[in-house]
């Protein structure tokens, strides 16, 4: 373990950027975007520097730590503000700052007409800082700060245009659902402290082997809950679609490339817990499997390009979670898919942004069509991302996704078969809906509104797209060459025994490609050969209707949580007013009332007063009579 003094700059730079931009206000409007981009870029620079340092050290010496200060220390609860940069986090650092910087650059142009561009960059910087804290924190509590920090940044960015009530609602929804996940993280930390006595990664890793499986399972499940919230996994996935309300660069950065993969990071980071808690691990796999299908199915029905991509993100993260749930053998592949996905999905989102930029912010794909000619660069970069996500060799997705499918098949027994089938099915559906997106957007006839004047985006926008496209093409190959990533990460994970191979890699690849082909063909038949209606047809199957409504997730939440919650709230408000305060007022009324009644004793007649005295005396006599 090495210590360093420079880790903090990774976070401090973007944080400084955010602070300056927020405090300076309108004064910084002119140069705010440049400062923000610079801060992000310099953070990326620090990351690269750290990587170079790390590469120069042996496996054991690669993790770097930095203790900043004693944060919270009460009794045995001691948490330092400390950072940890190891082989795992460096991947994330580079992804975040790298993709982040690209998206900063993209945004300079994309947001150039927005009155509040400076504020947007402040939020972006804030997000970068928080996300870096998330992946750099050396304890669950530090992670938690970043975890909620990205939630806040996400909230601010989704609601960037919160003057539209729907957007404001979307941001609130995202925050609240994330909080439910955060609660899981809180629980995990509490259980960890109560059972293990520490909340640092290092400490827990050290004690994990002599901690009961029950405790670890509990921690694991709670971490999973956290992951489902942040990574939009089932059952806390509903916010992601609405989160597309934010400016498109936000969707690219936060809701595709970085924040939403925090769950994967968390599970991977907590490998020492999940490895010792098979039940929790199984749940992770199940969640991943459900979500990848769930997302994919939603993706088939969305006409909003960003929502389609968001559904795809959900699905792809399902893959990653599933991969991470497969244990040591899957962690590296999950991370690999995460990285490749970061490239191609970010690229596609930026592409979508570019399309919208050219189409007066229209998001409905049914009103696109034939954009290939007008936006060639966008088409190419988007297309490369498309090929990558489909898993067409040799694009990035082919390496990462196929590895996960393969690992799923090989995880053994019925579980393996089910998971394999699910992942394959997912790949097929992915092919279908992504093809649909391609066809609807770029080919066919134009179905634009009258005032649309599609045009290619400026260089500041297409350059980042191009760079990401390069990543989409090459990252898979580079990372998997000689198991580079697997070996890089290996020292962090418990080594695993060899699994029997159910299916040979080549068979899996074949099956996967076959599924993809089927998906593409079906989509092609459905959307390319037929006229596409500019307005979504209503006479569709029940299934489509359900898929359009995100598989009823909102209706479900509404019926099960929101309505009863609202009822409970109003019932409690009434209870407070009438029962509790009513009781208080009742006591006051009782006093007043009895006062008024007792007043009656004072009738004004002297004889009744005398009678009162006589009665009093009689009672005294009676008392004596009883006593004696």
């Amino acid at each position: 373990m090495t210590t360093s003094n420079s880790l903090v700059y990774l976070i401090a730079l973007p944080l400084l950027g955010a602070t300056i931009l927020l405090l300076a206000g309108r004064r910084a409007d002119k140069w705010g975007h440049i400062l923000g981009t610079l801060m992000s870029a310099s953070s990326f620079g620090v990351g690269l520097y750290q990587l170079s340092q790390m590469l120069g050290r042996s496996n054991e010496a690669r993790p770097v730590t930095q203790k900043l200060f004693e944060w919270i220390s009460v009794g045995t609860f001691n948490v330092d503000a400390g950072l940890l940069l190891d082989q795992l986090s460096i991947c994330f650092v580079l992804l975040i700052t790298g993709v982040g910087t690209l998206i900063h650059i993209y945004s300079i142009s994309y947001m150039s007409h927005d009155h509040d561009r400076r504020r947007f960059f402040a939020y972006l910087n804030l997000f970068i800082a928080a996300m870096l804290l998330l992946v750099l924190g050396n304890s669950y509590l530090n992670l938690y700060v970043g975890w909620e920090g990205v939630g806040l940044a996400s909230y601010l960015l989704i609601g960037f245009w919160n003057q539209k009530p729907a957007y404001a609602t979307a941001s609130k929804k995202a925050f609240v659902m994330n909080r439910i996940g955060d609660m899981g993280l809180s629980f995990a930390i509490m259980i960890a402290f109560a059972t293990i006595g520490t909340v640092s990664f290092e400490g827990i890793k050290e004690h994990a082997h002599h901690t009961s499986t029950g405790a670890l399972t509990a921690i694991g499940i709670m971490l999973l809950v956290a992951a489902t919230g942040k990574s939009a996994q089932f059952p806390l996935q509903a916010w992601l679609g609405d989160a597309m309300a934010g400016p498109t660069p936000v969707s690219a950065l936060i809701h595709a490339a970085t924040m939403v993969i925090a769950g994967v990071y968390l599970i991977t980071r907590s490998n020492f817990i999940f490895d010792a808690a098979p039940t929790a691990q199984l749940l992770v796999v199940i969640v991943g499997a459900i979500t990848l299908l769930f997302g994919a199915l939603i993706g088939t029905a969305k006409d909003d390009i960003k929502k389609a991509l968001a559904a795809s993100t959900m699905s792809q993260i399902g893959y990653m979670i599933l991969g991470a749930g497969l244990g040591p053998v899957g962690y590296a592949f999950a991370i690999m898919h995460l990285l490749t996905h970061g490239f191609f999905k970010a690229g596609m989102f930026l592409g979508a942004g570019s399309v919208m930029h050219g189409m007066n912010d229209e998001v409905n794909m049914r009103k696109y069509g034939a954009l290939r000619k007008f936006m060639p660069i966008t088409f190419v970069t988007f297309g490369l991302g498309y090929l990558a996500i489909l898993g067409v060799p040799p694009f990035a997705g082919f390496y990462s996704k196929d590895m996960i499918i393969e690992t799923a098949f090989n995880s053994g027994g019925t579980k393996g078969i089910i998971l394999g089938v699910v992942t394959l099915l997912g790949a097929g559906i992915t092919a279908f809906y992504m093809t649909r997106v391609m066809i609807l957007t770029f080919t066919g006839k134009s179905r634009w509104d009258a005032e649309a004047h599609p045009h290619e985006s400026p260089i500041l926008m297409w350059l980042p797209m191009a760079i990401l496209a390069v990543g989409s093409v090459s990252s898979g190959f580079l990372l998997s060459r000689g198991d580079a990533l697997v070996n890089w990460l290996a020292p962090l994970f418990e080594q695993h025994g060899e699994h029997e191979e159910l299916l040979a890699p080549i068979v899996v690849s074949g099956l996967a490609l076959a599924m993809v082909a089927i998906g593409v063909v079906v989509a092609f038949l459905k959307y390319s050969r037929q006229e596409v209606a500019a307005v979504a047809p209503e006479n569709v199957s029940v299934f489509t209707k359900i898929a359009r409504q995100d598989l009823m997730q909102d209706s479900f939440n509404e019926a099960v949580f929101m309505r009863p919650g609202q009822l409970l709230t109003s019932a409690l408000v009434k209870t407070d007013e009438h029962v509790i305060d009513g009781a208080v007022r009742g006591v006051a009324q009782l006093a007043l009332g009895s006062g008024s009644v007792l007043r009656g004793v004072q009738s004004g007649f002297v004889r009744s007063y005398a009678a009162l005295i006589l009665i009093g005396a009689a009672l005294l006599i009676a008392a004596i009579w009883v006593v004696i």
Binding site: L22, W71, V74, F77, G149, P165, F175, M190, G214, V584
Partner: protein, 503 residues
């Protein structure tokens, strides 16, 4: 160097006399005198805090003068970490309140002068109530404090101010009288066991039967639970907060209500350790109910001030839970929470108050799109809200998490239910944020003015403290920890060791 608590208490009184001597028409001068006085007091308190020996669990700055020897009553003051933190909070909040509510006194029943006299007198009592080490002195101040607050609410508030003031006063008096009964019990018992005294130290050594202890404990506890306020004794608070001026609300919820939770630690736990243990299960349940109930009620409010009041009920639930969890994390967390809550509530009330006074309505639905119109005010409100929902990086996160962790190690179920409160917190903050700050700028809000310099100066330190302590709470924790550990040790508790899942 000024190191006398008595002098510290005298300062605001001197200020109030100066204000009283000013002619009625010199309103600005009265304000300035009040501001300067509170600033001096704050400075003096900080100076004392610097001289405070952190690792010394004994009372410091002890002073003792005979007051009513017949009853063994002394004017005895002294502070430990707990008291220091709360005094610090009070005296730092005071100038902020004065500055923030510069125009609050206008439109009151009486002159501006009277407002500041009341505020300054109240500040003296706020210091005294935390510093008192004589139970009788504590009680006297505890009760006497009600009067200035009563007049502040009833005289300068809005809406149903006199009804709210009366409700507040009657509620508090009721609790206070129960406490008086208990204090009498203690006094009599001390007489039977070696001479009448009200010295806290001496009283904590009393031998009592468990029944007696339980009854006396209840006397104290109910008084504090009303003050704190704990469900179901909370109904005075929303009304009071609704009617009081923002500054008064800050002092009421931020400082006065802390007397309740402070009293639970200082008096309930110290004087009646066994009874405290007996009642812990009940109190924890009430705390958890407060947390969840307060949050739900906050969600259901249409009025901004009432909403903030209910959030406080939820927060006080956390504090009480931390206190009775009997772990060092819970205890320290609760104390830190008291401090942090003071500032986050201050921020909410002050900014909320500015919003309300500009808009002329406290109904949340009347606001809309303020972020576009008054960005600084909106941001301040947002940050205050974030602090209230205990966002990590804000001071209240540290304390809330400590309370939860501390509770979890001993009472996991309670902690788990309480944790649901954080989701509800997100709702009760974000709903008003959305309605008031986001969305299109609705009619009536277009021409609201943003915070002026004075207001910015007032709110800046609050937010700075909130954020600074979120990242670096150590200075406070180092003061609090020894005191908390002392309480826990006195109670005969040790923190539960890690169970390793009983493996």
């Amino acid at each position: 160097m000024l190191n006398s608590l008595t002098l510290l208490m005298a300062l605001p009184i001197i200020g109030s006399i100066v204000v009283a001597l000013l002619p009625k028409t010199k309103e600005t001068l009265a304000k300035q005198v009040a501001l300067i006085t509170t600033l001096i007091v704050a400075g003096a308190t900080i100076a004392m805090a610097v001289n405070f020996q952190r690792d010394n669990v004994d009372l410091q700055f002890v002073e003792k003068y005979s007051w009513i020897p017949t009853f063994g009553i002394n004017f005895a003051v002294g502070i430990d970490g707990l008291a220091l933190v709360l005094i610090l909070m009070s005296t730092v909040l005071a100038p902020i309140v004065v500055l923030a509510g510069w125009n609050e006194a206008h439109g009151g029943r009486w002159s501006v002068k009277v407002f500041y006299i009341l505020i300054l007198v109240l500040e003296t009592m706020m210091i005294g109530v935390f510093a008192a080490t004589d139970v009788f002195l504590f009680y006297v101040i505890f009760e006497a404090m009600l009067i200035p607050v009563y007049f502040l609410i009833g005289g300068y508030g809005t809406g149903q101010r006199s009804a709210a003031a009366v409700k507040f006063l009657i509620y508090s008096l009721f609790g206070g009288l129960l406490m008086l009964a208990s204090i009498i019990g203690l006094y009599v018992m001390s007489g039977a066991q070696g001479g009448h005294t009200f010295d806290l130290q001496a009283l904590s050594q009393l031998e009592m039967s468990s029944t007696t202890q339980n009854f006396l404990f209840l006397g104290f506890f109910i008084a504090f639970a009303i003050k704190a306020p704990l469900w179901p004794l909370h109904t005075w608070l929303p009304d009071a907060a609704d009617s009081a001026t923002p500054g008064t609300s800050v002092l009421l919820l931020g400082v006065l209500d802390k007397v309740g939770t402070f009293g639970m630690i200082r008096y309930c736990l110290t004087l009646f350790p066994d009874a405290s243990k007996t009642f812990t299960p009940m109190i924890l349940v009430l705390s958890v109910i407060s947390i969840v109930y307060g949050a739900f009620l906050a969600i259901g409010q249409r009025d901004l001030k009432r909403l903030i009041a209910f959030t406080s009920i939820s927060h006080f639930g956390f504090i009480t839970m931390g206190i009775f969890a009997m772990t060092s994390q819970g205890q320290s967390g609760a104390t830190l929470y008291m401090f942090n809550h003071g500032f986050s509530t201050a921020a909410l009330f002050l900014v909320g108050g500015w919003m309300i006074s500009r808009r002329g309505s406290s109904t949340i639905a009347d606001f809309g799109g303020l972020q576009r119109v008054t960005p600084v005010m909106a941001w301040s409100f947002f940050l205050a809200g974030m602090s209230s929902l205990a966002l990590p990086g804000m001071s209240s996160f540290v304390s809330e998490f400590l309370v939860l962790v501390g509770t979890f190690t001993r009472y996991p179920v309670h902690a788990v239910i309480a944790t649901f409160g954080i989701v509800l917190a997100a709702l009760y903050i974000l709903i008003p944020v959305q309605k008031a700050l986001h969305g299109p700028t609705t009619a009536g809000n277009e021409n609201l003015s943003d915070l002026n310099l004075r207001e910015k100066i007032a709110i800046a330190p609050v937010i700075a403290i909130i954020i600074a302590l979120g990242f670096y709470p150590s200075p406070l924790l180092k003061v609090i920890n020894p005191a908390s550990a002392h309480v826990i040790a006195q109670m005969g508790f040790t923190d539960p060791a890690p169970t390793n899942g009983d493996k």
